[in-house]
């Protein structure tokens, strides 16, 4: 009986020590972990708005740059990030999140659009489960950068295509990833869909968004 009681008390105190130490460590790193996550998304947004972030910037510096140049607002419930020139008044682009199914799991992307709503200025995928070296190459510059400057004319909701487009007017011809047909096809599908949904909304509400963003960030330097 005594032995049993000792086992229980022993386990209880050992658990207390371990969880106590872990809780202390968690409290010590919590702020840093949260900042890492925020800064990572902020870096992606800055990049798609063609505001380059030096690679050696710390999470804090990224957040600083973001607060200076980008303001967040919403358009019909969707988050929209508006990038501003150094003067803080002239819009340089709009960014929105575009998410869709990939081959192995969801792909989370961010798209930057020019202030007039006519061109795509940047694209990035910040979370995905595609095969490294194959579908995973959607995060490489060679793939992403081909979209920078792509005109958003669109024909029947199709803005770009990897396939044989027979010179369809308004459809941008992009290069797919060799060996990752499934990922490419899915990216083509969901990105076109998200663009079609967003671009129309954006074009008819441009001024409203910019004003909302300016008001939102009024108290910021």
């Amino acid at each position: 009986m005594k032995k049993r009681l000792f086992s229980i008390v022993y386990m209880f105190f050992l658990t207390l020590v371990c969880t106590g130490a872990l809780a202390a460590l968690e409290m010590g790193t919590r702020e840093r972990v949260a900042l890492n996550a925020t800064a990572r998304l902020q870096r992606v947004i800055l990049e798609v708005l063609a505001l380059p972030v030096p690679a050696d910037y710390s999470p804090r510096q990224v957040s600083g740059l973001f607060d200076n140049r980008v303001r967040e607002t919403s358009l019909e419930g969707q988050r929209v990030f508006v990038g501003f020139d150094a003067d803080g008044k002239t819009p340089i682009g709009f960014a929105f999140a575009a998410t869709g199914p990939g081959f192995w799991g969801p792909i989370y992307g961010m798209v930057g659009i020019s202030p007039d709503g006519e061109r795509l200025i940047g694209l990035n995928f910040y979370e995905h489960n595609e095969t490294p070296g194959l579908g995973g190459r959607i995060t490489e510059d060679a793939f992403k950068m081909q979209f920078a400057g792509m005109p958003l004319e669109g024909a029947g909701g199709i803005f770009f295509s990897f396939g044989d487009i027979d010179n369809r007017p308004g459809v941008f011809e992009a290069d797919a990833i060799t060996g990752a047909t499934e990922t490419s096809v899915r990216v083509e599908k969901f990105l076109n869909r998200e663009l079609a949904l967003f671009v129309d909304k954006l074009r008819s509400n441009r001024l409203k968004i910019v004003n909302a963003a300016l008001n939102q960030g009024g108290d910021k330097p």
């Binding site: 032995k3 022993y10 095969t131 070296g133």
Partner: protein
């Protein structure tokens, strides 16, 4: 139990009783995290840390831990160290943490660590237990790095992210996928057992 020198413990963990290619333990993560050398190094470092300190702690508490609950205690200790590693990676190496994904948490289930706690640390003094844990962690890391070297070189044409093969080199796509780890690890075990067969006792 006979006392063994630190050098003997190290050579056993690294080679003659290597956990991966002699005892075929820890294969799951050996297959999952070996397509890039950088990720593999961090995973190896995490496992070395957890194995060494879990063995040390289990050994330090061996005289007061009631034997009927020893496995619960071992799991608690191992899990605590794994969470320490996971939190540290999330705070200071977020990119690596994301690349390793669930595999850091899964170190808890790695048979090597529990095997060393149960098979060695609970019957030996803290320092030899620590060295034994360290040696087994190193043995695991060494095999993983060997597998990752082949996979990254042929699959990406690079080593530690630095391109070493010319652009004209055709990348072996299969090498970046999980099945390649089976082939490479299998080949490794085959070579090791052919040229350096384990001595029968």
């Amino acid at each position: 139990m006979m006392r063994e020198s630190s050098a003997t413990l190290l050579s056993k963990g690294l080679w003659s009783d290597n956990p991966v290619f002699r005892q075929i333990l820890g294969i799951c993560s050996a297959l999952a995290v070996t397509n890039l050398l950088v990720n593999t190094s961090i995973m190896g470092a995490a496992l070395i840390f957890v194995t060494a300190f879990s063995s040390l702690t289990v050994s330090a508490l061996r005289n007061i831990t009631p034997s009927r609950i020893r496995m619960m205690v071992q799991v608690l200790i191992i899990a605590s160290y794994v969470i320490v590693v996971d939190m540290a990676l999330k705070a200071w190496l977020p990119d690596i943490s994301r690349a390793l994904g669930p595999y850091v948490g899964l170190i808890i289930t790695n048979c090597i660590i529990m095997g060393r706690c149960e098979g060695y640390a609970r019957n030996n003094q803290p320092w030899p237990a620590f060295v034994d844990g360290l040696a087994n962690g190193l043995g695991y890391t060494f095999v993983l790095l060997a597998v990752a070297f082949v996979r990254e070189l042929l699959g990406f044409g690079s080593l530690f992210g630095v391109r070493v093969l010319p652009d004209s080199f055709t990348k072996w796509t299969i090498m970046v996928m999980a099945p390649a780890a089976f082939f490479v690890l299998g080949t490794f075990i085959w070579i090791a057992n052919t040229y350096w067969p384990k001595k029968e006792k």
